[in-house]
Symmetry: C2
Subunit: 225 residues, 2 copies
DNA sequence: TAGATTGTTAATCGATTAACAATC
DNA sequence: TAGATTGTTAATCGATTAACAATC
């Protein structure tokens, strides 16, 4: 295997850059709504608290139209460029397994459409839930997953089950031809290298917040002395 | 200001390391449940698909008891060390604003306790929601936020409102003495440098998944030629 | 002792930032 | 023209990985 999988660098942007692009996109939308038509990389950097060279580099990597000296970027064009780069145009179907509190919340979340994703079906093993609909999305029996997946040509699988069930669900998803897994459970998934796995681990975020918080508080106590 | 805020390096671990620690911790728990008493950094690295030197460095930075050559780490001790390092012992109170689908899901989430966080109160501006309880957590009027915050000595604020309301909520939280914000809205928050802000942006995750997926699919098509 | 494993010091790699030339 | 801004090339910084010495 010559090209590393999971490596966005193959299309010229680093992972950190890729992470920042949606943030720029979001900011551009607020500025467009505020009635602005042009914006400079400098202004974006200042507003978001980032280094301006970094922003410029990011934008020039993802935008094909580019900006003009003294004028900056046309917000409408840049927005379109970023959306194209991020693939927001061609909507990708996804399935979700585990219709608990979090699963149901994601099914009801309206923001995915704008990012080019649509949850086509949900799955659970609870007979009470099977056959119901949440925000217009039908909940199917988990056993039907491989069959239904192949039917609707879906590549993305979202796991919102308990950690104990996650690996099993993951295996079932692979059977159904799922290529990328968005894992909201804490479980580490064992997958072949070709599988894309993105872990959305709340414990990780919380750890960072707690740690930073402790730093700040300790620092303050030191100051008080 | 001599020491950078928001910089975990001040206690000797880099941000990437800090992100991996909860992942190790989680894996250790599964191994303890499986009846193992000792584990080597090598084994952890292999299981999680990480570089073994990286794991060893991470563990030696966060563990005070350390491992023994040929034996590895005592899982129980290492677990305790990591939990202490991450501050899971002393439970931190948090408040949540925005009791929609996602907010309610977080209120019902049982996993926070294990990570040293407890949501003490929730807030909303919807009269239908104010006064109700979700998983035993009372929903208060957003107007009472500053007052209640000062009363219960809380440092962490969780924002699960619509993006339009996020900045306002953020300001109210600062009034109430909140020091760290866990922002689940897409809005970029404008805060003083001393404020800790952690953005949990689903669009960012989705962008990474879509991008990786596109890479893999394009690569396959190239192969088919 | 031999070998597995730890923990550290040095080399490499990649991302950020600084400096600069180009241009409207 | 002058100045703001773009986009790129070079320097710096930090994290990962490799090499190695220590130890049970």
């Amino acid at each position: 295997m010559s090209i590393k999988l999971n490596d966005p660098a193959s299309r010229g942007v680093s992972k950190p850059t890729l992470r920042r692009l949606p943030v720029y996109l979001n900011y551009l939308k607020t500025q467009a709504e505020a009635g602005k038509t042009n914006i400079s990389a400098t202004a974006v950097a200042t507003a978001l608290g980032l280094n301006e060279v970094q922003v410029r580099k990011d934008l020039s990597a993802a935008s094909k139209s580019g900006g003009r000296p003294k004028v900056g970027y046309c917000i409408a064009k840049l927005t379109a460029d970023l959306e194209e780069f991020l693939g927001y145009q061609n909507t990708k179907a996804a399935i979700l397994v585990g219709v608990g509190h979090l699963g149901a919340a994601l099914l009801s979340f309206q923001g995915f459409q704008d990012c080019g994703m649509r949850i086509a079906a949900a799955f659970d093993n609870d007979p009470e839930k099977i056959g119901t609909e949440i925000s217009g999305i039908r909940v199917y029996n988990i056993q039907d997953l491989p069959h239904i997946c192949k039917l609707i040509h879906v590549h993305i699988g979202i796991i919102t089950t308990k950690p104990e069930q996650a690996q099993n669900v993951c295996n079932t998803m692979m059977e159904g031809g799922i290529r990328a897994i968005w894992n909201f459970s804490t479980a580490h998934l064992d997958t072949p290298e070709s599988m894309i796995v993105h872990n959305e681990n709340l414990a990780v975020s919380l750890a960072m917040i707690s740690h930073d918080l402790e730093q700040v508080i300790q620092q303050e106590q030191r100051k008080e002395e």
